[in-house]
């Protein structure tokens, strides 16, 4: 589904991603954890085609070179990002926005567009999934939404757009316990054989709800450790610094110096 090889990304001479390797099979959910500023969001940005990075390495998505596609082409190919900081778009209705998005995707895929009535039915069904009130649909996109409401709105879009590769960037941050449960169960409901997910988080707690197939630790622009869901528990107990030390120790015993 997704294969990232030796991915480097820099901005204004500052190298942020320094050789990321990662492979995701269809239906798998991987978690990425790691300290602030280690490059997790940057990885997500590069995957969706944000401009401004100098990128090298390769990203193969369903057999095609993802890095050559525009952001909207990537979206049409099924790539979705739940943003860490969803932006507000004043004056643009949330419902209208989502319908336009879905219809753009459908158009690019050569499918028929949904009319407002059909779309409303679809949206209402998906809103139940994230326990979101209809009033949010009549407001401007994310405008004046609380932090938690914005995150729910992201998951709602994911439910409506039905991507094949969903990247969730700290969707759990800023959520209260109930909201966390709602968002997690929404995500779980969307888990399917054909849909892979990359879940960026700082909290092991989320991974109690969304049980990942693999956990990766990113430090200073690299994935320094990978493991099963137990790794998250270990991180919770010892922190990233502990991991880095353990890491360095392991590397040195293997006789590799940096």
């Amino acid at each position: 589904m997704l294969k990232i090889e030796e991915l480097h990304a820099s901005i204004e001479d500052k190298e942020i991603l320094r050789g990321v390797n990662l492979q995701l099979k269809p239906g798998e959910v991987h978690a990425i954890m790691g300290p602030n500023g280690s490059g997790k969001s940057t990885l997500a940005s590069v995957l969706i085609g944000r401009e401004g990075y100098l990128v090298s390495g390769s990203v193969t998505y369903e057999g095609q070179d993802l890095l050559t596609l525009s952001p909207e082409e990537r979206a049409a190919a099924g790539v979705f990002l739940a943003f860490q900081h969803p932006v507000e778009i004043p004056g643009v209705g949330n419902m209208y926005f989502m319908r336009t998005a879905l219809n753009s995707l459908r158009r690019q895929r050569g499918e028929e567009e949904l009319d407002p009535v059909d779309f409303l039915a679809l949206a209402q069904e998906k809103m139940k999934l994230v326990e979101m009130d209809q009033t949010f649909m009549n407001r401007s996109v994310n405008e004046g939404f609380s932090g938690g409401e914005k995150k729910r709105n992201e998951i709602l879009q994911m439910a409506i757009l039905e991507p094949k590769l969903a990247i969730l960037d700290e969707t759990d941050s800023g959520l209260d316990i109930d909201a966390l449960r709602v968002v997690a169960s929404g995500v779980n409901a969307l888990r399917s054989e054909g849909r892979s997910m990359l879940v960026i988080t700082h909290h092991q707690r989320l991974l109690d709800y969304i049980v990942p197939d693999q956990v990766h630790v990113m430090t200073a622009g690299r994935i320094v450790r990978s493991g099963g869901k137990d790794l998250a528990v270990e991180l919770e107990a010892h922190g990233y610094t502990g991991t880095q030390e353990a890491d360095a120790g392991r590397l040195s015993t293997a006789g590799i110096s940096r």
Binding site: E72, V92, A101
Partner: protein, 487 residues
Amino acid sequence: MSAPTTSTGISDEVRELANQEYQYGFVTDLETDVAPRGLNEDIIRLISSKKNEPDWLLEWRLRAYRHWTTLTAPTWQHVTYGPVDYQDIIYYAAPKPKKRVESMDEVDPELREMFDKLGISLGEQERLSGVAVDAIVDSVSVATTFKDKLAEVGVIFCSFSEAVQEHPDLVRQYLGSVVPYNDNFFACLNAAVFTDGSFCYIPKGVRCPMELSTYFRINAADTGQFERTLIIAEEGAYVSYLEGCTAPVRDTNQLHAAVVELVALNDAQIKYSTVQNWYPGDADGNGGVYNFVTKRGMASGRNAKISWTQVETGSSITWKYPGVVLKGDNSVGEFYSVALTARRQQADTGSKMVHIGKNTKSTIISKAISAGHGQNTYRGLVDMRHSAVGARNFTQCDSLLIGKDSGAHTLPYIEVKNQTGQVEHEASTSKIGEEQLLYCRQRGIPEEEAVSMIVNGFCREVFKMLPMEFAVEAQKLLTVSLEGSVG
């Protein structure tokens, strides 16, 4: 729109006439259809006599002209343009039927493409392009029907020239009462040489039964470059007036200096909406229209209300400050504006609110969008006089920049001479959010569509003030005008 009258694009026949030696003066020469180039008292006498005007009107024109000769064109606007040679303009040409074409196939393909994008019906396209079909006849009969309906309730809606003949007392009473002939350089020129425009009178207590639009005025096609509009709402009357259309208007006249005067008496309300889409010039800024307009309302009665709503997307240079003089106690003035400058367009626009009466209230909402090399300046004046006890103003100016070569400037002027006056001003300038664009594109919305969506969202507060149909058209217009300005 009107007969060709500038140095560019005039017919040989006109040129020949224009170049003829000036021999006898034009006061008596009623045979000619075209005045020679340039401006002097004889030309003004010619215009006035051609239009069969009463003496007082001729005197008024002459006073304006004499004053104008003492003025120089203003230079304080934040726009640059080459000097206008006022002696190289033909100030009078008898209205001529538009050059007719046999079918839409003969119409400029670029124009047709724009018509299509705006979703203008074929019949309407033909009318606007001057295709010789029944559609024109239709619109005349529609107009007549409307006129009958208006006459039933006593509303007068006609061309300015007709009003001078049919309702001279009303014209004499109100002409120049809001924008005096010596108001400013362009208004003064207009007073001297205006050829036609619209006149509208709503009697006491009448709510005008339909939106009045220049579209329905039979001879609206040839109002020329110096247009004059006068709207009077008597006590308790209401009228909504629509000016312009979203269809692209090409004009060989480069300079347009119109004047609009509105008068609202006690409890009267005038809502004036404009969509302006004159030719903006090519990508290098050549050939566009200079739109130098003076628009002002006089809320002379208590509880009177005047609202200006404008969507400005055309012209290479726009210079206009629709304002309201709030003279009556509790009177209200509003200004809602969307101004878009793309290519090399320049706009210096805003509003003037003059508070004189007690508890007068004004609202200014300005949305400026600059794309390409477009330059947009908001210039506004809020003036609260001694007498304006309890006056309030709220001003909000938002600018949106698209691309790195565009510019936005905000120049508010505030003068408060009353302790109880309240003025609130909010301003913001934002780049069209890279973040917003990426968000839309990530969801699959192509870039151009995303830009148009964000821009329309930005303007929503103003669009919702427009009559429904106009608002839908204005949105489309904005989208079309922005095309090609991204990336």
